[in-house]
Amino acid sequence: MTDAAVAPMPPVWRRLIGFNMLTGVVLGVGGWYVGWFGAHAIVGPSLDYFGDIDYNELSVFMAYLGGVVGFLIGLGFLNYPLQRLRGYPPSLREKETEGFGRYFSLCTDHKVVGIQYLWGVGLFFFIAGLNAMLIRSELLSPSHEIFPAGTYLTIVGVHGTMMMGIMTSGILGPFANYLVPIMIGTRRMAFPRIESFTFWLLMAAATILQTTVFFGGFPTGWTGYAPLSNESNPGMDCYILFFALVGISMCLLGVNMIATILTMRAPGLTWTRLPIFIWGILSTAVLNVLAAPVLIAALSMEALDRTAQTTFYVPGGGGSNYLYENLFWIFGHPEVYILAIPGFGVVLELLPVFARKPLWGYRLAVSGMLGVSLLSWFVWQHHLFVSGMNGDLRPFYMLSTELISIPTGFTFLCGMMTLWRGQIRFTVPMLFCLAWFFNFLIGGLSGVFLSDTPSDVTTHGSFFSMAHFHYTIMGGLVFTFFAAIYYWAPKMFGYELNETLGKIHFWLMFIFFNSTFGPLFAVGFLGQPRRVVTYPSGLQFLNDWVSISAFILGFSMLIFLYNLFWSLVFVKKPAAANPWGSKSIEFQLPSPVPVHNFDRIPVFSGDPYGYGGGAGPVTVPAGAPAGRD
């Protein structure tokens, strides 16, 4: 939407003033101190605010809540509600213009939010990855300590928590926000302000988690088990706030996706014509909406235990640590499928493009994803097989856990049969999708050992389970995250990425991913528990092998970053509208997609997999008289 008369550009300093990220940070810091002093006024008149952090948890919570509220006000999230109160007419559009500044502010253009998400998630993914490098440095030697034990646990905790919290939005954030409205033929998400809110809340949360180091860190890892969390430093409060805010962000993101997909599909886009990627997003969004509130509730009780001296999780005070474990894993198991299912969606979406065949077994693929998301609610106590809780229910959880491999197998079958007799092109995104099969197969088959209660007795809590979930989450999510970047970046940014560098990145990442996590199965079986700072000296060779592989794995990420910046900032080779020859609707639009996506709303006449002449052109994108304005 460009105005006919373009106003002259004001000077830079003038453009920095307004509701944007800078104001957000300023008000955030201000809000932090308001909360801090306010809580001291409640708890005690002490202004010795760095001296008493050991016992004044309330001030930490209030400070960060004040900071988050100030940050969001500074970004302008209160403007619209206040305008409505003052009688202004409703509007859905904010900062839907051209220009660089919109990336640093509340913007209701779903494509801007998608790109914001990509850089934001990418930034914290990179930080969490650096933490992994530090972990592997420490484990180079069984006895020599690079970090003090407490620092090491904080590094482990920040790595795990950041990855699990931020990467829930790894595909839902960037790619679903960017692509869902385009793929379903609309111009925006159902709740554009909430869409922006989920992003900025996630960034605020991730920043809070990073500041845990100023409060002594936290020793619990990403699970945050009580009662260890009750006795920890105020750094624990940062963990609680991070995950609770991530929970709010996830929940709202899910609501937004569901509402958009249910209500805003263009004419002709029936449920069986929906791209499979959308089905993956929908299955995940349902999990988001239902799982995140459990996490928020669990952490609220933990926050009360720490501030108001309640005893929800304190065994001596009538509470139970089993309560926390149950609530956490009721969230936590759907959570791992929140991470995995979008990957299924990406793989099945990309395979038809690069095999030049229709998606095989569409309905089976859909039922697979929905089946996984349904069954994921019935398996959580497989994390607690040896906890002593519900010993008689273990056979049930064994069965339900193993049942999940049936719908997961649907994804494998559909993917493999889509490749069958195709015209496969080994492009960079395709390589990442093919790697998904290998990684997720290893992840899934190692899951067989963990789901089997007798075998789980040895593997539970060891490096075996750690290797298992890195195969499923890093192998399943992060590989598809990169597939999605390489596949959709030309569309999102309008520039091509370098293919040679992409292939170097892929091969280094794939080989050294396996070289990193493969030996860890053995390390776990040989008796190394997770999250230890020291281990038997007999395991040093394997640990060193893993560490060195991990460093090269980390180096492959630098190649990716180099490729990204080099291609987008310096080379700037314009991408074709449809570089992959895809039949999906986003590739029928120009690159990058114009601000309002479609001049006229498209009409769909088939699914986007009409390769091989099985169906006619998918859509009537532009200027169709039948479309709505």
Partner: protein, 288 residues
């Protein structure tokens, strides 16, 4: 793509499906017995106890079962990626528009379901046979045959060490774990502060130590040996250092060891709380 490219079915008159299935069957028939015989028995925890041996058998069965699955995907991708790739730099051509095949779908669902049900049934049978060395909580459901006469040991976890009490030896407490050989042992695991996990690696025993909860695990020891004890649940600062070595001793050796321990700790015995399945932790306990 506005123009519909020509469809090419690479080698349309070759029965690719039969080739893959035959190659898969041959490969599986060769590898599965090899894996079952040579790889399966090597998987830990080993034969330090009856329960550990049971886990090895479980691992052996499961590795044998997943070998054909690995073979299927290996054959499929090795064949498929070589046979079905497009020519480099050629015009885009489409593959055949295959959209579904009910027979393949039904076959796949039936086979995966059968495997899953077998695994669940097999795992349940193995679990209920002798408890498999896993913590079962205060009211166990799976017992070894002779559990009424089991030798009792209590494991008390706290930050950051394990201590052991022997109720049959007058509640003697020590910081070394010794178990009599060829005996059914009933281990009661509890904690004084946070969640720990008692992992006797070579015995295939693991049970979480929860404050205020008596987590019972059965293990049938075999011959004399050393084994490692590690904490397998993150329990705070020195979690990584929460380990020691346990011993399985001949009964005579065990009793002389126990007598020695009783003598060493005799002077502090009167300060110990009476033996109990749980010990009430301090509710507001805070470690720095």
């Amino acid at each position: 793509m506005t123009t519909a490219p020509t469809t090419v079915d690479s080698g349309g008159n070759v029965n690719h499906g039969r080739r893959v299935v035959v190659a898969w069957l041959v490969l599986s028939a060769i590898t599965t017995p090899l894996v079952a015989i040579f790889v399966g028995p090597l998987i830990p925890p080993g034969n330090g106890s009856v329960q550990g041996q049971g886990q090895v058998f479980d691992n052996q069965v499961m590795t044998s079962l997943i070998t054909p699955i690995l073979c299927l995907l290996a054959v499929f991708f090795a064949y498929g990626l070589v046979q079905f790739h497009a020519k480099r730099g050629a015009e885009l051509v489409d593959g055949p528009p295959l959209r579904h095949d009910s027979q393949v779908q039904i076959l796949w669902i039936v086979i995966t379901t059968a495997m899953v049900l077998f695994l669940a049934g097999f795992g349940t049978y193995e679990l209920l046979k002798d408890g498999s060395g896993g913590g079962q909580g205060p009211s166990p459901i799976a017992f070894p045959a002779n559990h009424q006469n089991a030798f009792q040991v209590q494991v008390i976890a706290q930050q950051w060490q394990f201590t052991y009490r022997y109720p049959s030896l007058g509640g003697m407490e020590t910081h070394q774990l010794a178990l009599p050989a060829n005996t059914d042992v009933e281990i009661h695991v509890t904690s004084l502060d946070v969640i720990h996990s008692f992992w006797a690696v070579e015995l295939g025993v693991k049970a979480d130590a929860n404050p205020g909860i008596d987590n019972i695990v059965y293990v049938q020891t075999k011959g004399t040996r050393l084994f490692h004890v590690r904490c397998a649940e993150l329990c705070g600062l020195w979690h990584g250092y929460m380990y020691n070595t346990g011993r399985v001793l001949e009964p005579a050796q065990f009793h002389s060891w126990a007598a020695g321990q009783e003598k060493i700790f005799a002077s502090i015995k009167k300060y110990l709380p009476p033996y109990s399945h749980t010990y009430v932790p301090q509710p507001d306990r805070r470690a720095g």
